[in-house]
């Protein structure tokens, strides 16, 4: 019997679990597998629609009282982000940025993406610095798929940044093929490997006078801060990472940092456990059942946090008949009435597609409500993208809502 079982191992779930474990509770995170942390940039998007995220959030909470930010309030947002940053800092991986002005960081296509906090390894890529007129080099290995320095540099140039591209020679590794971001990141954790790369970077800097070098976010899985510092010293230029396509090493780092924090507080993790149904007793959730070999496993806890994600994370799925379902507890969803209401007429419609605002409607304590506003479970809290009333990707608040609501669920 646990005090709290958290379903879902993304940012929301892990932050909730850490909060509970810090209060001395017996906590377990039960998850079907690795989640969206491994797909995302490894940055903390708070609110990307305006330059000043906090001002934007204050305005948002006035206009949309059911937005998750409005439900938890500004204090919880700030405290959650502060705690998250402190955990990363303690792990030697500081998250840099601020609440009042978004950074503008290059993507793997060379677009500029607003985000509130980014790992120190990415921070030198802020477009405001890149526009200082000094040349920037975008460098990678030909063997890394889905990351093309010439494309990135060309798109940056189109936005007024003096960027050029280079392909580096891969130092000898004993490996002939399959250079995924993770494989390369492990190589960068090896001092010999990065010394060889550092030599090449130094040669480019001598020739081209580059002030900054942008590289894919593969600069170490375990010791990225150290790797970047080392490469900067060897190259004689500032280095910044650009997030890659999945699997995202920068996202994995955050996952590992939070997982370590939870385990060192005595929390438990169980992966590979799809939660399939709950066992209610009136308004109390008594147990959940997770899929297992030959028969389900029953788990009991006093309190639950549902942090299974939205449509992207798999917490919400569509049936072949065109209904959306919350996968773990079958909670009622706030969603367009029929499938015809899912999408706006235009693919790139400015207001986004209504289906992506689908989720579980909750009260101010994040407890699930049904369509008539009645409480479904008094001992369940919902956090992260499983919540209704916001569009995490379009609004650029995926991580912010996850951390704020996850932290809130861990405190109440």
């Amino acid at each position: 019997m646990y005090d709290t079982i958290v379903i879902g191992a993304g940012l929301a779930g892990l932050m909730a679990a850490i909060g509970r474990a810090e209060r001395g509770e017996k906590v377990m995170v039960l998850a079907k597998g690795h989640g969206t942390t491994h797909w995302t940039t490894g940055c903390l998007d708070l609110f990307a629609e305006v330059d000043d995220p906090i001002a934007g959030i204050i305005q948002l909470t006035d206009q949309r009282p059911h937005h998750p930010y409005a439900l938890v309030g500004l204090t919880m947002i700030e405290q959650g982000v502060a705690r998250f940053r402190a955990i990363c800092e303690a792990a030697g991986y500081p998250m840099v940025g601020n609440f009042n002005r978004n950074l503008l960081l290059p993507t793997a296509l060379g677009a500029l993406r607003p985000t509130a906090f980014a790992p120190a390894t990415m921070i030198n890529g802020d477009a405001r610095q890149l526009r200082d007129g000094r040349p920037t080099l975008i460098a990678s290995f030909g063997v890394l798929r889905d990351f093309f320095p010439p494309l990135i540099a060309a798109n940056l140039r189109a936005q007024g940044i003096a960027a050029e591209a280079a392909l580096l020679a891969l130092p000898p590794t004993g490996r002939q093929h399959d250079f995924s971001p993770v494989i390369l990141a492990r190589m960068f954790d090896q001092p010999d490997f990065r010394a060889r790369v550092g030599e090449q970077l130094a040669a480019f800097v001598r020739k081209g006078g580059y002030a900054r070098i942008g590289m894919p976010a593969i600069l170490g899985l375990k010791h990225p801060t150290e790797v970047v510092r080392d490469l900067q010293n060897r190259a004689g230029a500032l280095i910044f990472e650009i997030p890659t396509l999945p699997t995202s090493v920068a996202g994995m780092r955050l996952y590992h940092i939070l997982e370590n924090a939870l385990l060192s507080l005595g929390g438990r993790m169980q992966l590979g456990g799809f939660v399939q149904r709950g066992e209610p007793l009136k308004e109390t959730l008594v147990a959940v059942f997770s899929e297992a070999a030959a028969r389900e496993q029953r788990h009991t806890a006093r309190r639950w946090v549902l942090a299974t994600g939205g449509i992207l994370g798999g917490g919400i799925r569509a049936t072949p008949e065109g209904h959306l379902r919350e996968t773990a507890l079958d909670l009622p969803l706030q969603t367009p009435d029929s499938r015809s209401g899912w999408f706006a007429a235009r693919f790139l419609a400015e207001q986004g597609h209504p289906v992506f605002q689908s989720g579980v409607r909750v009260d101010r304590s994040l407890r699930p409500l049904d369509a008539s506003g009645r409480l479904v479970y008094e001992n369940v809290m919902v956090a992260g993208s499983a919540l209704a009333g916001f569009d995490p990707v379009r609004e650029g608040c995926l991580e912010g809502v996850a951390i704020a609501t996850g932290w809130a669920a861990g405190q109440q």
């Binding site: 399959d178 590979g272 030959a294 798999g314």
Partner: protein, 408 residues
Amino acid sequence: MDHIELSLTQSLDHCIKCNICTAACPVAAVTDAFPGPKYVGPQAQRFRHAAQPVPAASVDYCSGCRVCNQVCPTGVRIAELNARARAQMVAERGMPLRNRIIARSGLVGRLSCGPQAPLVNLTLSFAPARWLIEQVLGIHRHAPLPKASTYTFQHWFRRRKSTVAGRRPKVVYFHGCSTNYYEPHVGKAAVAVLEHLGFEVIIPPQRCCGLPLLSNGDFPAAQKHHQYNVAQLLPFVRAGIPIVGTSTSCTLTLKEEAPELLGLHGDDVRAVAAGTYDIFEFLRNLHERGELRTDFRSIERRLPYHPPCQLRAHRIGRPVLDVLGLVPGLHLDESRADCCGIAGTYGLKREKYQIAMDVGKPLFDFVQASGQNLALCDSETCRWQISGATGVETRHPIEILAEAYGVL
């Protein structure tokens, strides 16, 4: 096509190509002989057809550890796809003699165990003999081989006097090959614990669960074993008597591996699967019902514990931590290593030995850094691998529990 088979074939459509499995795969991390679960699993599966030759052989480098299944966010049964692909390859191309031998752990055990065991063990500890075996058979000369026992567990069980009398609830013990031929002490500890808890222990005739055959791709032979075991165990299951095992791989095979991989989903197979428990899962269930004795002696120790892949594949959490956590003074440090590398018979093979050692390195480092002279692990081949690589004695957790109950 029944629904399990359907879900197995359809699960490749659930793959969204995110590569989380490849990022987590401990084999792909150390060798490019294995391109990664996504490529040889859901991706290559599209090119495999019963009527066509197997397109690529790299799937043979899958160790079957199932880390991919565990981390996949969309529930693709990657390890099962791989195991089936290997079986198709074996059916097409045949099986090397070496694999035929090591996949028959029951036969090898029977030949090694008994009065001749000291001679067998001496020979196998003799470097030139191991060199010869490597040359002839392709079993790596440094691969960890267990020491054969001079007597079988079954023999011991038949000759002993039961310590329990009167009508007791019954439980069937599935001991598996390793307990029978190499580590009878594990079975003795299990019997002692179960009897201490008031059970009458029954040991029906049983064969190898067939897992080594499954993981080496000989499905027809594995099916014979499974059908035999189901026939033997079914009457007990039908009578409501649970089957418990100390080998996490045997119990996983009875529960899921054999039915899923072989496509056996009859009522009898299902009943046996549903009636089978890992022993610590069984004990944890007892505890949850308030029926587990907790008259433990205190054991003031801090020990490293590795939950083996074959236990994690049960998807039941960490029953050993839950149960041994009740023993006063005992603290287990859980290894967070993915895999010890051996994966049953994988690490014995000459061409895979070094991969297995590289995969296991984080675990070996963890065990050695603990500074303890004892480690715990539920799975036999993993214990041999850990001991072989670190020199640290590795025991089944049931032995510590028996000690805590004071029944050894």
